[in-house]
Amino acid sequence: MTEEIIIAGFGGQGVLSMGKILAYSGIMEGKEVSWMPSYGPEMRGGTANVTVIVSDERVCSPIINAFDTAVILNQQSLDKFESKVKPGGYLLYDPNGITKKPTRKDIHIYTIEGAQLASDMGNSKVFNMIILGAFLKLRPIIDDKNVEEGLRHSLPERAHKLIPLNMEAVKVGKDNVKQA
C-alpha cells in the first residue's frame, strides 16, 4: 500500500499541521512516511501545501507530481492540483469559497463542509481535523486509535487535553463527507 497525498489551501488553515498529524498517525500504524512542505516566504493568507506519503515500503521520492488523493481547501489549490490527481484517484474539497468546481470525470470527487462544520462545533481551529476525518473516511489507511496516538505525539503536552475534541472533529468529518 502506498498513498500519495497533497493537502493544499491557505496558510493558517492548518494544512501543514494536518499533514504532520497524518504522518505521525502513519508511523503509529507502522507505516513509512514522508512529509514535504512547500516552504518559502509564506505567510498567513498565502497558499500552503504539503505532500504526505504513507507506505508499507521505504518512500523513495518525497517530491512527486501525481497524487492518489488531493485534499483541496481553496480555489487556487483546486486550479493547481485538480489535473495532478491520478486517474481513478480521489479529490476531496471544501466548497466554501470555491467558485469554479472541479470538472474531471475520471476521478472520485467528494466534498466536506469543513469551515461550516467547525463553526457549528464552535471552534474554528478543529477545521483541519474535520478535513482529516473526511479524508480517512474515503481512504481508511489509518485506524482511529493510531490517529489519536499521532495527535498525542504531534501536539505539545499542554494541548493533550484537546485530543478528545480533535477526535470528535475527526468523527464529524467522517460523518459528513459527501459525493460531489
Binding site: 512529509w35 516552504y39 521520492s61 518525497p62 512527486i64
Partner: protein, 361 residues
C-alpha cells in the same frame, strides 16, 4: 532500539548533535536551515548535557568560534546554507591547514549569490573541490533522508577526529525541510576535560605542570616546513580516499544504464528507477554517500560489469558530472540532467532524460 520520532531533517541534525555529546554549536540563522539553531535554542541543551549553543554575530564569527573550540579538542558543530557557507570558507581553509576537527552542515539553496531559498545542489564544487584557499580537502557526507541527517552527525564527528579535519554534511533545502521517521540514538555523555587531554595529545587545553606547549596554526613562513606540512596533508587525504569511500547501489546488479545521484536527487532518481523498471528498462542507481572521497572505483566496477552509460542527476547545471566523467575516462557515455533555481525535477522527467540523453531512442 532508540526513540522513534517524526522530525525535519534540520531538527534531526540538531538533536543528533546533542545526543552525540557535542560540546558546542555556533551558528547564524539562514533559510532553509534556521530550524537547526531554533531547535537547539528551544531544547536548551546546556541543561540536558552542558552543550553550549550560541548564536554568533555573523557566519565569520561562528566558524572562528568553531576553530577555537575545535583546537581545544572539543566537539563543535556549525551549520548554514549556501551564502552563509561562502562566508565560512576562510575559516574552513584555516581549519584544514591547522588540522582542527569539526563538523559543519550546508543545507544548500539556489545560487549564485543570495539566489533563492528553495533547494539546490549547486554547491557541490564549493564543498568537494575546496572553496577556501590552498591544497586541502574536507570529508563530504551527503544524507538522502532524515535518518541520515541524524546518523551522519556521529559519523562526521568520528571521521573528523580520526583524521583531524572538517567533515561537511552536504544537505539541501528538501532534506532539511522534509519530515520523516527517524530513530534517534541514545544520549552519549560529553567527554570530560581529562578524557580529552588523554585522548588528543595535540589539543590545546592549558599548559600545566611542565607539559610542553602545543601550537595549532595554519601559518609557517619557512617554505621547507610548509611543503612538508602539505605533503603530510596529502598523505592523509590519500589514506581517506582508500579507506572512507561510502556509497549505495540500487538495482545495479543487471543494470545497463545507471543514474548517479546524491541527496534529494537520489530519492527522486530512485523513483525513476522504479518507473524505468516497470517499463522494462534495465536501469539502476549509484548513490554516492561520500562526495569526497568520491566512489570512483564503484563507477569503474560498473563499467567493467557492462554498464553502457551514466546520467548524473543533480539540482545544478552540472557539477558532479565532472567526477562521473573522470571515473568513466571516456569509456562510456556520461551526461548530466538537472533542474535549477529552486525547481526540483520530477521522477518522470529524470527518466525521460535518461531515455533521451543516454539510452537514445
Amino acid at each position: 532500539m532508540g526513540e522513534l520520532k517524526l522530525m525535519k531533517g534540520n531538527e534531526a541534525l540538531a538533536e543528533a548533535a546533542i545526543r552525540y555529546g557535542a560540546d558546542a554549536y555556533f551558528g547564524y540563522p539562514i533559510t532553509p536551515q534556521s530550524e537547526v539553531i531554533e531547535y537547539l535554542s528551544e531544547q536548551n541543551p546546556y541543561e540536558r548535557t552542558g552543550m553550549v549553543v550560541l548564536q554568533a554575530e555573523s557566519e565569520l564569527a561562528a566558524i572562528n568560534m568553531v576553530y577555537g573550540a575545535g583546537a581545544s579538542g572539543k566537539r563543535v558543530m556549525t551549520s548554514s546554507s549556501s551564502p552563509g557557507v561562502c562566508l565560512k570558507q576562510e575559516g574552513l581553509a584555516y581549519i584544514a591547514g591547522a588540522e582542527v576537527p569539526c563538523v559543519f552542515a550546508d543545507v544548500v539553496r539556489g545560487g549564485p549569490g543570495l539566489g533563492t531559498i528553495q533547494p539546490s545542489q549547486a554547491d557541490y564544487f564549493q564543498n568537494t573541490k575546496g572553496g577556501g584557499n590552498g591544497d586541502y580537502r574536507n570529508i563530504v557526507l551527503a544524507p538522502a533522508s532524515v535518518q541520515e541527517m541524524c546518523d551522519f552527525v556521529a559519523l562526521g564527528f568520528d571521521l573528523a577526529f580520526k583524521y583531524r579535519m572538517a567533515a561537511c554534511i552536504l544537505s539541501d533545502g528538501a532534506i532539511g525541510q522534509m519530515m520523516e521517521k527517524v530513530v534517534l540514538p541514545d544520549q552519549k555523555p560529553r567527554m570530560t576535560d581529562e578524557e580529552i587531554k588523554a585522548k588528543y595529545p595535540w589539543a590545546i587545553n592549558g599548559r600545566k605542570n611542565g607539559t610542553q606547549h602545543r601550537i595549532i596554526t595554519s601559518l609557517d613562513l619557512d617554505s621547507a616546513k610548509m611543503e612538508e606540512h602539505n605533503i603530510h596533508l596529502q598523505k592523509k587525504y590519500k589514506e581517506i580516499e582508500e579507506k572512507e569511500v561510502r556509497y549505495e547501489m540500487i538495482n545495479c546488479d543487471d543494470a545497463e544504464y545507471v543514474f548517479v545521484a546524491y541527496g534529494s536527487s537520489a530519492r527522486i532518481a530512485q523513483k525513476s528507477v522504479q518507473l524505468g523498471r516497470e517499463a522494462g528498462l534495465k536501469v539502476g542507481l549509484l548513490r554516492p554517500i561520500t562526495l569526497w572521497p568520491y566512489p570512483t572505483k564503484a563507477i569503474d566496477a560498473l563499467i567493467k560489469k557492462g554498464v553502457k552509460g551514466f546520467l548524473s542527476v543533480e539540482l545544478s547545471c552540472g557539477q558532479m558530472i565532472e567526477d562521473v566523467r573522470l571515473a568513466c575516462n571516456g569509456r562510456v557515455k556520461a551526461e548530466h540532467f538537472g533542474r535549477v533555481g529552486g525547481i526540483i525535477h520530477t521522477p518522470e522527467e529524470v527518466l525521460e532524460a535518461m531515455k533521451k540523453q543516454i539510452i537514445g531512442e
